[in-house]
Every structure is written in C-alpha cells, then in structure tokens.
C-alpha cells in the first residue's frame, strides 16, 4: 500500500471491498507496481510491438500534464488497454489505473488479480447503484495522484461518440483535465468476439488536455469532439 493510501486508515476497510467488488488495493502497492513495471517493460510492450507495432501521434501533448488526468478513448478491442498503456509511456503508466468492466475482468478472482497486476486495472461496475461506488473509488484514487484510463462508451465496437457521463463526474469533481485518445486499427487486430489477435499495425492518437470546467454535459460534448478531432488527425496521417 502506498504512503498516501496508508495515511487513510478510516477508509482502508471500505477500500478493500466496495459494493461486493474487491478493489485490489494490493495491486497499487510499491512491490506490485515494481512487478507490473517489470512485466510491462520486459514482456508486454515488446510483445505488443511484435504483434501490433504501434505509432503514437501527439505524445507531446502529455508534457502539458502536471498531475493526474482522465484519459478517454474509443473502445474497439481487448487490446485497447494494453496498447494505450504502451503508447502513453512509462512516466504516465507508473501512476495510471485502467477502469475495467467488473462483470467481465473481475468475474473470477484469478482473472481479476492477473488484470490488476499486469495492467493496473481496477474494477468498474457498469450499471446499477454500484457504478456510483466505482466512480467514488476512482475519485479517491485521482485524489491520491493516480490518473485513470477509461473507455466511456462502456462497450467495445464504438466510435468517438455516445460517451457515458461517468468520466465527466470524475474529472469535474476532482478538477483534473481530460485527455482524448483515439485508437485506430485494433478493430481488425482483435474485434469483439475474437480471442486470438490477428497481427497488424495500430495508430494511437493523443489529443490536447481538456480543462474540466464545471458542467458535466459540456465536458462530455468536449471530450467527444476531442476524440473526433484526434480521429481526424490519425486518419489524415494514415492517408499521407
């Protein structure tokens, strides 16, 4: 458990399990982060570069961040999270959690532990009252300096629209910027319903950070526009 997490003993019990979903706080302790770094640098990133060599556009936008942020991206494939992590680079990745569907990635303890350890995921309940608990938990993590990667459409096979508001609550309430990202090509590498990747090149576009403001709906609209803008840049670059 990190120093800041240890400094909040009153919440420790509740952070271990929220609404029946464990939070896997051990996966954010220094030893687990060290193991995760080793796995990501030593195996995950090289493997991804072999299977899906990726090109990152707009990485210089990350230098405009000086604290935690909420990264939002279109969702096409189970490869989205690993490729995003690899594209964001070590500096961002070190304190980044990925909001992962609790009903899918945390359907068993082993699956959940593996995802938490290797990718730094946290369970996110997608529907019902528990999703508020998930958001609250993410807010707490942002408050402790963690960035969050979230796929706001909630399911795979979507474009840069139809975003749900959860990420906006998170960004506005915690007053952290939203960084739009667009992932291109992963729908062909591993589309929904497929479990073995078909290798191929991928482009990851990173947009300029969007200030959170104080209007949830406006932030959702800005984020959708931001992702669409990055998409246009990626498509234009690809066609060059």
């Amino acid at each position: 458990m990190s120093e800041r997490e240890q400094s909040q003993p009153a919440r420790a019990g509740s952070s271990r399990k929220r609404a029946g979903v464990p939070t896997y706080s051990w996966a954010r302790t220094p030893p687990a982060r060290l193991v995760r770094s080793g796995i990501q640098y030593g195996a995950l990133v090289p493997l991804l570069k072999f299977i899906s060599p990726f090109t990152v556009i707009g990485k210089r936008n990350l230098s405009k961040l000086n604290g935690p942020a909420v990264f939002v991206a279109n969702h096409q494939s189970h490869f989205d999270a690993p490729i995003s992590l690899a594209a964001l680079g070590g500096r961002v990745r070190r304190r980044l959690v990925v909001a992962a569907a609790a009903d899918y990635f945390y359907s068993s303890a082993v699956k959940g532990a593996a995802a938490s350890l290797t990718l730094g995921t946290v369970p996110f309940v997608r529907s019902g009252g528990s999703s508020r608990d998930s958001l609250q938990f993410l807010k707490e993590l942002v408050g402790k300096g963690w960035s969050v990667l979230i796929f706001p459409s909630g399911t795979r096979g979507t474009g840069p629209s139809g975003f749900k508001k959860g990420f906006a609550y998170l960004a506005v309430d915690a007053q952290v910027p939203v960084v739009p990202m667009y992932l291109n090509g992963l729908d062909q590498v591993m589309p929904k319903g497929s479990f073995i990747p078909l290798p191929g090149g991928v482009v990851v576009g990173i947009g300029e950070p969007i200030p959170p403001g104080d209007d949830y709906n406006a932030l959702v609209a800005k984020a959708e526009a931001g992702v669409a803008e990055v998409r246009a840049v990626v498509k234009g670059w690809e066609g060059a």
Binding site: F50, I51, F54, G185, P199, G200, G239
Partner: protein, 308 residues
C-alpha cells in the same frame, strides 16, 4: 546458432556499403527537396529515410548473425505480411491463422528439416482443405481456400525459400544480401525515374502509375545494387550469371509492382497498415523481394547448368 558477424570478413564491407548507400540517399533527397528542415522533418519522405536507417543495419546484422536473430526477423515479416494479405483479401480469421502458422512452419522446415521442404505446399493444401471439411462451414469455402492459397504462394512460401537458400547454399548469405539490396534499389530507382522521366504508361489498366521510365529505373537500380555489392559476389558466379541476375531482379520488381496493384484492385480494398513508418505495411515493402528471390535463385541455377 547465432554467429559473431565480425568473424565474417564480408560483414564490415557490406554493412558500410549499405550505410553509405542510405546516407547518400538521404543527401540526394535533401538536395532535391530544398525545403526547410522543419517542413521536411514532418514529411513522409523523412519517415521513409528514417525507416531505412533502422531497416538497413537491422537486416544486415540479422542476416550475418543468423540463428534465432534472423529467425525472429523472418518471423516478424511472415506474421505481419500474412496478416496484411489476409486483410486485403478478406480472408476469414481461421484461414489467416493457418496461413501464418504454415508460414512459420515453413521457416522452421527450411532451416532445420530441408528434406521435407518439398512437402510444404502440398501439406498446406491438405491442412487448408481440412478446415472447411472438419468445421462443416463450406459456404464461401472455395473462395477462402483459393485466396489463402494465393497468400501462401505470394508471401509465406517465398519467405521459406529465403531461409532455405540462405542455409542450404554456400553462397546463400551473399545471394540474400545482394538480392535484397538490389531489389530495394530497383524499387527506389523506379520511383525516382518514373517521377522524373514519366513516359508512356506500362499497363494503365492494371497500374495507372507505372511508366516505361519506371521500368528503366528498375533496371538501373538492380544493376547499381549488384555493382555496389560486387564485393559480395562469389567468384564462382560467371559474368553471364550476374547479368541474368540483374535482369531477373529488375523484371521481378516490375512484376511485383503490377501484381501488387492487380491484387489490390481485384480485392477492391485499400488496406493501409502502419507497421513501417512512411511505407505502410510490411507486405508493401517486401513483395518485390518475395517475388524476385526464388525467381533469381532458379535463374542463377539454370545459368550455372547451361554454362557447365
């Protein structure tokens, strides 16, 4: 087993020549562009030159080190190129997986069990036809089988040939280096000459961009490539064999251009990949080599037989 490349007296001369070629190419591009560095740095041409600075030394090192290093590079090419072909042709994923798997198997057989090399195409045909038979999914299966077979002959089998020739022939490494560099130069010279000379279209219905000026570029590029790496030409190759090699490399490069074009048109897709910066896909980069390599090898054998 991997070898120390410096132990081979050919390594340094070839490595330096390849690097010098890239530097000269960079200088030529810079001089011809006459744009500010900032504008040029963002251009596709910059990406291409940068890519050559990676591909060139990587290829020479992998070829001379051999063993699993060369195998890894060949594996990457097979996996990516077969995948790209599968996408262009609209091949179903299970057929695409078989294509990739058999491509990998071909590399292993070529390196470790050459006696079974002749069985590879027939074995692939058996495995391919077993897919619809065992799964019972026969709708559109004839098209899937046919297109996958094209992918195998176009991509996977020539890659296995490259490994086979390199490991089986005493001059296999020399041949690989000479043909690869000459094919690359032939492609670049075709682009440059085609842009500068233009001239009549070669086959406008197949490829509206290819001109006779480009064909001349192909020939000049192939000749310069073989001449530039003359240090690697084995003494047992007769002058006639070298001339035939140049002609075959040039012809195969033209053939590869036209074939790539008609395949894209036939499948009516413009699948773009981003694996190699500035060039798009791996297949786009290696298709000429894949077509030139077996053809050049057998042409060389034929000339040797005739001269004897």
């Amino acid at each position: 087993m991997p070898r120390n490349p410096f132990a081979n007296p050919l390594f340094l001369p070839v490595f330096l020549r390849v690097m010098l070629l890239i530097v000269v190419g960079l200088a030529a591009v810079l001089l011809s562009q006459r744009r500010s560095l900032e504008v040029w740095r963002r251009s596709t041409l910059f990406l291409r030159v940068r890519t050559w600075f990676v591909i060139g030394p990587l290829f020479v090192l992998a070829a001379f080190i051999g063993g699993f290093v060369a195998f890894l590079l060949a594996t990457f090419v097979v996996v990516q190129a077969c995948s790209e072909f599968a996408r262009i042709a609209g091949i179903e994923r299970r057929y695409a997986y078989l294509l990739i798997l058999w491509g990998e198997l071909g590399l292993l057989v070529a390196a470790l069990a050459r006696d079974f090399f002749g069985f590879l195409p027939f074995g692939f045909f058996i495995a391919l036809t077993l897919l619809p038979i065992l799964s019972g999914r026969i709708t559109d299966a004839h098209r899937q089988v046919a297109d996958t077979l094209v992918g195998y002959v176009f991509v996977a089998l020539p890659m296995a040939y490259i490994v086979l020739v390199k490991s089986a022939e005493p001059w296999g490494l020399n041949f690989l280096v000479i043909v690869t560099v000459s094919v690359a130069l032939s492609d670049i010279a075709a682009y440059a000459a085609g842009s500068a000379l233009r001239g009549r279209k070669l086959m406008p219905r197949v490829d509206p961009t290819k001109t006779w000026g480009g064909v001349l570029g192909n020939l000049i590029g192939a000749a310069v490539g073989v001449g530039w790496l003359w240090v690697a030409v084995p003494p047992e190759w007769s002058p006639a064999a070298v001339v035939v090699l140049v002609l075959v490399i040039a012809a195969a490069s033209v053939w590869a251009d036209l074939t790539g074009s008609f395949i894209q048109r036939a499948f009516r897709t413009e699948v773009r990949s981003t694996v190699i910066l500035g060039y798009g896909g791996v297949l786009n980069r290696v298709d000429s080599l894949l077509m030139a390599f077996p053809l050049a090898y057998f042409a060389l054998l034929l000339v040797h037989k005739l001269v004897e």
